[in-house]
Every structure is written in C-alpha cells, then in structure tokens.
Amino acid sequence: MAIKILSVDDSRTIRLIVGKAFRPYDVTLLEAANGEEGLAVAAREKPELILLDVTMPVMDGVTMLTKLKEDPALKAIPVIMLTAESGRENVLQIARLGVRDYLVKPFKEDQLLEKAGRCVSLQKRPVATPA
C-alpha cells in the first residue's frame, strides 16, 4: 500500500519538485498550499509524513506545527520542515516545536529522499507489466 506524504507549501514549484522526487516511489503525494489547508488534509488523510514550509500566507508552518502537536490524533505524524531560512534562531525555534528533521532550501532531491527515508520506508513503485 502506498505511503501517504503531505507536502504543505504555498509554492507550487516546491510541491512539483517534491512530487518529482517521490515519483519513482510507491507514494501518494497529498498537497496543501498553507497551514490551514494542511491541517484539514492531515486530519482527513492521516499521512505517514508531512513536509512543511515555514513562511506561508493564511497560516504559516510554525502555527500549523503547533496545532498539529496539540491534536492527539495527529501529533505522532513525523514532520520535516522545509525552510529557506537556516539561521540559528530559526532552526532552534523549529527544533523546540518537535520536528523530526529540517531541510534548508535550496536542496537536492537526494537530500529530501534521504531525510524522508529516515521517517518512512520508501519502496520503489512497482513497474507496470503489459497484460
């Protein structure tokens, strides 16, 4: 059964790059454009992993993460923060909120897959055979 990964980012570019990275794997990629949408998708779909941007309109990643950790049904979902900001204070703030890991933009697909692979078991997508 495919692993559900939720990508929460206001940038469609990042969501497409994330989708491209996971394409060879048996992953169902769910998408949300801000924290509010992300919480709704997380509650509905119960993904195995959330990739979460920090700076977003409507609801930012830190607020979404805080709400996620307050929800008994969602707090165990591992979260990897994707952020363009690598400053010490930013990283410390994120760490205090209980993220599994973080990835600083710009990043390579391999780095994303390596960090995701530490949280979930990524299996190559079965190759379709002609009937």
Binding site: L16, A84, E85, G87, R88
Partner: protein, 159 residues
C-alpha cells in the same frame, strides 16, 4: 548589533548564495560579472521579496529576461519550456527569489539583525525601474548563466 552588516558584506554573501542556489536547484553554473554595465532586457520577469526588522530592512529583486526565466523554470521542474505557462514561470522565479532572500535573512539574523521576510511578488514588464526610497542603499550584482544575464538587485537600510 554586529558591525559586519554593511553593504560589501551583504553583497559578498549574496554572491556566494546565488551561485549555491543556482547550482543546487538548477544544476546551473553561474559566474559574477564584474565591471559589467546593467544589461537591458527587452522583456523581464522580476521576483521580489522584502525583509524588515528593527535594525535592517529592504528587499531583494531578481531580474531575468523572459525567455531565460522560462528556461530556468523548465530546469527546476524537469519540464520543457514550451510546457510551462506564465503562472509556473512566475512561481519558480518567486521561489528562487524566496530562497535567495531566505538565505540573506538567516545571515542577517546570525549577524544580530533579526528580521522577517515577505512572501514573493512578481513584476513583469519591458521598461521599468525600481527606485529605492530615501536613505535606502541599492546594489546590483550581475551574473552570467549559460550566456544569459541575471541581476540581483538589493535595497537595504541598516540602522
């Protein structure tokens, strides 16, 4: 606040960071062009992200020629330029500008000048100039990338 937050330091950091962003996300080699006049673009796509804090504020503008912006977007998304619409190109330019400014924000914060950044905005046009408000310094960094010119324009007010 640290004394190192000065225009030359910001430009030095942004030059390194620009090269890193292009190489990591686009696998594109870039080189800063010194003693270059500002290139004139016929049509331009410009990304902008502002930053603001108690001790520093300003904005980063990233200027691409329209055709090269499409090539950059295609490289980032692994698609052909012909398959991309204006919205996709705008989003990629905004995201690259966001990565550049996010790096600058981290550098500023680590140097003692806490600040926040805006979400990206896009300007498209053929003949426009972005004028800084009084007391704001402006610097241009010009880069060569696959025989195309890219400009990073930095507006900053320290103190």
């Amino acid at each position: 606040m640290s004394q190192t937050i000065q225009i030359p330091n910001i430009c030095e950091f942004m030059t390194r960071h620009f090269v890193d962003v292009f190489e990591t996300m686009l696998s594109m080699k870039t080189q800063m062009v010194t003693q270059a006049g500002l290139p004139q673009f016929e049509d331009r796509v410009t990304g902008s992200v502002a930053f603001a804090g108690e001790h520093v504020n300003g904005a980063v503008y990233l200027h691409f020629g329209t055709v090269f912006a499409g090539q950059v977007a295609a490289a980032m998304l692994g698609l052909e330029p012909a398959d991309l619409g204006e919205a996709e190109v705008n989003d990629v330019v905004g995201e690259v500008t966001n990565m550049l400014t996010g790096g600058l924000k981290s550098w500023l914060c680590d140097s003692g000048a806490e600040c926040a950044v805006s979400t990206p905005a896009i300007i498209r046009g053929s003949s426009f100039v972005i004028e800084p408000v009084p007391d704001v310094l402006r610097e241009w960094l010009v880069f060569d990338c696959q025989q195309n010119r890219v400009i990073v324009e930095i507006h900053v007010k320290v103190g």
